[in-house]
């Protein structure tokens, strides 16, 4: 032991305390940096050496600078973050879906149904008024328009979600290659030392990148002994050491038919995600949003069927001169039910009545539709023949596959009634709505152009209003098609189901956010900078620095004294 060694110990102490102050100043400087993880100088006492029988210490040494972080907490935080990102994606679409539905207001579908039904009641009140009839047709257009625009809006929402899926792969790839690069550099700098995390700035960057990746997909990040992090998504690794696997967006098949999916480029396996924005987009597209689109379509189809079934059996102000079916017939040689995709009929019959204005003659014809699943079931061509056998009527299937009936002379007009087969509404003859889904529903052009075709009578053209009453009740009559519900009730069930889903999604998200806050509070408590704490550390380093300086001064005096002896 010598004064020189004391000087050496103190000078080491000065260096370590300076380093300590530097760490403190870095922490204070980054006190407000988001995602910054506070650092601590790890210092240890220097080893001793024997002086006579005593062992004397060699002072202090700086072991390294370490980040204060709990990896397990960080992983939990990322998991929750992924789930929240997924939930947020769904919530975002849900809230837009809800404002598109905009129930409880005056411009929603339920109000449009009420207005259509009310307009039909007005027609029943004033069956002779052409203006009221036109208004009822307009109300029908309004209902169809509301359904179409809601359908378009929801399709757009799910479409947007799908296109966002398209953009997410490149974001994942950027982050995974960045993480792989950081892995490489961290390993190089730290050289596998576990006690320290020397590459602190790089680690901060990597934590940020991992956080960002966890908002896109749920990840499991495991730090290896080397200091590199392995990133696993749903059983597939995306980053290992300095390597990353890229993902890509493709158009899926099977249950993802026609939609974008993200898959691992080299194995072409779908990236199985349970969280993150990607999961949120999938859920929004295929979940509430997608389900609503198909529920709305099913509802609109039932509206079309129900209203058309009633309308097709009624008569307008005058008999018809011609009528063209809405359904497209593929092969007229097949039994009617198999001839087109939109056709759904029963074994039954309907009545055509002709009235010849020139002679005052009325002619009634029973048209039978055999639909017993046998080889002699009525084909479209059989039906054409049956109607052609009616003197004064000409039936045909047009080049574009539509069933047509027209009278041979303008003096003859015809009307339909008593359809037990459903053939008229299935073929789209004398129907009110055209289309087969929420996005295609519309009031038939011939009725819009000529509202006298609105079939408000059941007792012959221009006679009475019984069908207007039936049309007014179309939404309120329980129907076997809808499992004993009325259309209004089925609409309410649809809204109830959708809003219940939205509501529970909100609840789940809120719960996740509360949990996230608890984890975040713990994380911030551990990793965040406390200025008071840093102040105290600063005082400690200052005092230690001053003391070591004093030791140097004292040692210097002693040396001086000794020198002066010389």
């Amino acid at each position: 032991m010598s004064l020189f060694s004391a000087l050496q110990v103190s000078s080491n102490a000065l260096r370590v305390n300076q380093l300590g102050l530097q760490v403190v100043s870095n922490n204070i400087a980054n006190a407000n940096t988001p995602g910054y993880i506070r650092q601590e100088l790890i210092q240890s006492a220097g080893g001793g050496y024997k002086v006579g029988s005593s062992i004397v210490g060699q002072g202090v040494r700086a072991v390294g600078v370490q980040q204060r972080v709990d990896e397990f907490l960080l992983q939990s935080l990322r998991e929750v973050q992924s789930k929240i990102a997924a939930g947020d994606g769904v919530s975002e679409i849900n809230s837009r879906l809800e404002s598109a539905i905009s129930e409880l207001g005056d411009n929603d579908i339920s109000s449009a149904m009420s207005r259509f039904s009310n307009a039909m009641q007005d027609v029943a009140n004033q069956p002779g008024s052409a203006a009221i009839r036109s208004l009822a047709v307009q109300r029908g257009q309004e209902l169809a328009g509301s359904l179409r625009s809601l359908s378009n809006a929801t399709r757009q929402l799910t479409g947007n979600a799908n296109s966002e899926v398209g953009g997410i792969a490149s974001q994942i790839n950027n982050l995974t290659s960045h993480i792989a690069e950081l892995n490489k550099r961290i390993v190089e700098i730290e050289g596998g030392s576990i006690a320290t995390s020397d590459a602190v700035g790089l680690r901060d960057d990597r934590i940020k990148a991992l956080d960002e990746l966890s908002t896109l997909v749920n990840i499991n990040a495991i730090e290896q002994e080397s200091g590199a992090v392995t990133v696993i998504v749903g059983g597939d690794y995306l980053v290992a050491d300095g390597l990353s696997r890229s993902v890509r967006t493709v158009i899926g098949s099977g249950e993802d038919d026609g939609n974008f999916v993200v898959q691992i480029a080299d194995t072409e396996a779908k990236l199985e995600v349970t969280g993150g924005k990607l999961k949120g987009l999938y859920d929004a597209r295929d979940g509430t949003g997608g389900a609503f689109v198909s529920r709305l379509d099913a509802f609109a189809t039932n509206v079309i069927k129900q209203v058309n079934r009633i309308h097709s059996q009624g008569q307008g102000t005058k008999g018809l001169l011609d009528v063209t079916g809405e359904a497209v017939i593929g092969n007229p040689l097949l039994a009617i039910e198999q001839a087109g995709s939109e056709i759904d009929i029963n074994n039954g019959s309907f009545v055509i009545q002709l009235e010849d204005a020139s002679s005052g003659q009325k002619k009634t014809f029973d048209i039978f539709i055999k639909q017993q699943g046998q080889s002699d079931d009525t084909t479209v061509n059989d039906l054409v023949q049956q109607i052609n056998a009616v003197s004064g009527l000409q039936a045909s299937v047009s080049a574009d596959g539509r069933f047509q009936i027209r009278t041979a002379s303008p003096a003859i007009r015809f009307s339909f009634s008593k359809d037990t087969s459903g053939a008229l509404s299935s073929l789209g003859l004398n129907t009110f709505f055209s289309g087969n889904s929420a996005s295609t529903i519309a009031v038939r052009g011939d009725i819009v152009a000529d509202p006298t075709r609105l079939a408000i009578s059941l007792d012959g053209p221009g006679n009475g209003n019984r069908n207007a009453v039936a049309l007014a009740e179309a939404f309120d009559k329980a129907d076997e098609l809808l499992g004993g519900q009325s259309l209004s009730e089925s609409y309410e069930s649809m809204i109830a189901k959708t809003s219940q889903e939205i509501n529970s999604q909100k609840g789940i998200n809120e719960g996740l956010k509360n949990y996230y806050q608890t984890l975040e509070a713990k994380h911030l408590g551990l990793t965040g900078v406390s200025l008071d704490e840093e102040g105290i550390r600063m005082l400690a380093y200052q005092r230690a620095f001053q003391a070591s300086s004093r030791v140097i001064a004292t040692t210097n005096e002693l040396l001086q004294t000794l020198v002066n002896l010389v």
Partner: protein
């Protein structure tokens, strides 16, 4: 909404944590404030369905019910407006009829001069034209009394008659759930514009065919839906007939059944189904309805014997007559000889209905409807035969044969044996005396008398004449019978041949037979055997017989205001006192009819009023329920807002103060 707390964790507190908590707290307070503010601004507790799905769905339901009730009120008020206008028209008609009643009283007096009579006629003409314009009254979009043909001018004056071209259809509207209101009064119910139908008394009994619809069987009651079970005692097979539309479908399904390798065979007879084994050999064949079905029973093919005799012959399934039925299928497949046609007499006009070329029932109806006569022919409501009704007021209406017996076969002849004597002469019946009513004078000048007071029908009267003990001498017998083709009775007797050689002294030459009413009776006139106003009918000699061709004494007429006024007018013109009396009686009936219609109208108006009232109450109730579900409790929300604001301010103050202290102030 963001939850209003941020968890405080045990352990180290960093500046970042403190800052986060503060920011969160501020956010949370502001979000709460905004939510309360929105509630106050909109007045609603929730803005979207998902905020409170159960309550929101209840609100949707309440809104729907409200919209329905509000429309029902619109319907009821619209109906009331039509009914009120109709009521004031009917009340006016009522007053006019009372005036007419007094005109009738004046007209019946013997002391009326021609000038006065002309004045009465002019008055009647003017009242008639008023009632015609009432019948044609238009309100908003419709002719009030036209029935379902709202755009059709209903009452047309044609010469001395009026014709109706509307119908008797009620116009319906929705007054409440499953509660329909009628918002018109038809001419027929209030004014009387359609005659009683000449109902075909004959059942036209169409033969069944493969195309006969099940719904038309059993007089339109149809058959139950279900399945039928076949058994040969050991094997069973069940066929589901729920999708069967026609008898042909049933037959086809049965023909596919095989029991122990033996196929069944079903055939259609003219009135039902016959079933046996296809090999026509004997065997056990039992048929029953599966479960609670009724189709087998309704087709009459269910067996009760353990070994039923084959073939199993189904019951007569009695299909409705439809316009599409072929004439050749009527009468159980025997058809009808339609070439003979019909004759319709309406007032002074005779219309011959020619059925040439007709093949279906509808062709027959078209021929009648387009014959030029103001009649409406259709299938009678019971679905068994035809019905022809006159829509002309002021004229007599009858149907008779044209050439053969078709009118009788169709049961459409207005004068036949089963007509009750009391119905004759427009329901006036016969004026009979105590004792003999008719005195017949034979060709030899001798007489016999017949008391017809025991006769109920015309046939009874004919029988009483023909079977009278004093009327059995074949040479002198006066035979009563029904004319053809015209309607009316005929009395005929042979012109006795002169004996050869002529005895000496020569017998008195035969004289034409006569019939006359005995004192106090007007039976001869009543039966149409003497001219109106005369009590004796004289025969003419036709082809070796003395014949008295009687008048048609059972014409139909359209009972109603127009008919009564026209009849009264003509009776006053013709100075026909008894007709004036009859017309006056008919005016009474019209007054009764109109009173009844007004009474019914009044009840409907009252019911509508009470429905309006109850619907309005319901709307208020629904609104209040909706408000309970949806509207914000303002007092509560404002106090919440104040509390939240205070908390927010306290929070800000605390944050500002706490963050001010730091160790750096002391070093």
């Amino acid at each position: 909404m963001i939850s209003s707390f941020y968890p405080v964790v045990a352990g180290r507190i960093s500046d970042g944590l403190t800052r986060n908590r503060a920011l969160y707290q501020i956010q949370s307070d502001q979000a709460s404030l905004q939510s309360l503010q929105t509630q106050l601004a909109t007045g609603h507790r929730f803005q979207s369905v998902s905020e409170s799905p159960a309550a929101a769905i209840r609100v949707m339901n309440l809104q729907r019910e409200q919209e329905f009730k509000e429309q029902a009120i619109v319907n009821l008020k619209s109906a009331q407006s039509y009914l009120n206008t109709s009521e004031s028209s009917l009340s006016e008609t009522h007053n006019i009829l009372n005036d007419i009643k007094s005109i009738a009283l004046e007209g019946v007096s013997n002391t009326v001069s021609d000038t006065e009579r002309n004045a009465l006629i002019a008055q009647l003409d003017s009242q008639l034209s008023r009632i015609v314009s009432i019948g044609n009254q238009r309100s908003r979009d419709r002719f009030l009394f036209a029935g379902g043909e709202v755009g059709q001018l209903p009452i047309n004056s044609v010469g001395e008659v009026t014709r109706f071209s509307g119908n008797d259809l009620d116009l319906l509207s929705i007054g409440d759930r499953q509660n329909y209101i009628t918002h018109n009064v038809t001419s027929q119910k209030a004014l009387g514009v359609i005659s009683t139908g000449v109902h075909g008394s004959a059942d036209l009994n169409p033969a069944v065919s493969a195309k006969t619809r099940l719904a038309d069987l059993n007089q339109g009651f149809g058959v139950g839906i279900g399945a039928i079970q076949f058994s040969d005692g050991v094997n069973e097979e069940t066929i589901d007939l729920s999708t069967a539309e026609t008898l042909g479908d049933v037959v086809n399904r049965i023909n596919q059944v095989t029991l122990d390798g033996r196929p069944l065979q079903a055939l259609l007879s003219s009135n039902g189904i016959t079933i046996q084994f296809a090999d026509s050999l004997p065997g056990t064949l039992r048929i029953s309805d599966a479960a609670s079905g009724r189709i087998g029973k309704n087709l009459g093919i269910v067996t009760t014997d353990p070994i039923p005799s084959l073939p199993i012959i189904g019951a007569d399934v009695n299909p409705l007559v439809r316009t599409t039925n072929l004439i050749s299928d009527l009468n159980g497949g025997l058809g009808l000889n339609i070439s003979e046609g019909l004759k319709i007499v309406q007032g002074r006009n005779t219309y011959t209905v020619d059925f040439t070329g007709a093949t279906t029932v509808e062709d027959l109806l078209n021929a009648v409807n387009n014959s030029g006569a103001a009649v409406v022919a259709d299938i009678a409501p019971d679905g068994r035969g035809f019905r022809i009704r006159s829509v002309e007021s002021g004229s007599d209406f009858s149907i008779s044969e044209n050439l053969g017996t078709l009118a009788a076969q169709l049961g459409l002849r207005t004068f036949h044996g089963q007509v009750r004597l009391a119905e004759l002469n427009h329901g006036q019946g016969l004026e009979l005396a105590d004792g003999p009513d008719l005195i017949f004078s034979r060709s030899d000048g001798t007489e016999f008398s017949v008391d017809i007071s025991s006769a109920i029908t015309v046939q009874d009267a004919v029988d009483l004449i023909n079977n009278h003990p004093d009327n059995q001498d074949l040479n002198l017998r006066i035979v009563a019978s029904f004319q053809t083709p015209n309607n009316g009775l005929t009395l005929s007797a042979l012109v006795p041949p002169l004996p050869v050689p002529l005895p000496d002294p020569a017998p008195p030459p035969p004289v034409p037979i006569t019939v006359r009413s005995s004192g106090g009776s007007a039976a001869a006139q009543g039966l149409g055997l003497s001219a109106i106003g005369s009590s004796i009918g004289n025969a003419t000699e036709t082809s070796g017989a003395y014949v008295i061709n009687g008048r048609d004494v059972n014409p139909y007429e359209t009972k109603g205001v127009y008919n009564s006024i026209l009849r009264l007018r003509n009776a006053i013109r013709d100075k026909n006192v008894s007709e004036i009396g009859r017309a006056s009686q008919m005016v009474d009936e019209d007054i009764d009819r109109i009173s009844l219609a007004r009474g019914d109208l009044g009840i409907r108006q009252q019911r509508n009023d009470s429905l309006i009232e109850s619907s309005e109450d319901t709307v208020i109730e629904l609104k209040s329920k909706e408000s309970d579900e949806r509207d914000v409790n303002v007092a509560e929300t404002i106090s919440q807002l104040t509390a939240r604001q205070a908390a927010y301010e306290a929070n800000l103050r605390l944050l500002a103060q706490v963050s001010r202290s730091t160790i750096f102030d002391y070093i």
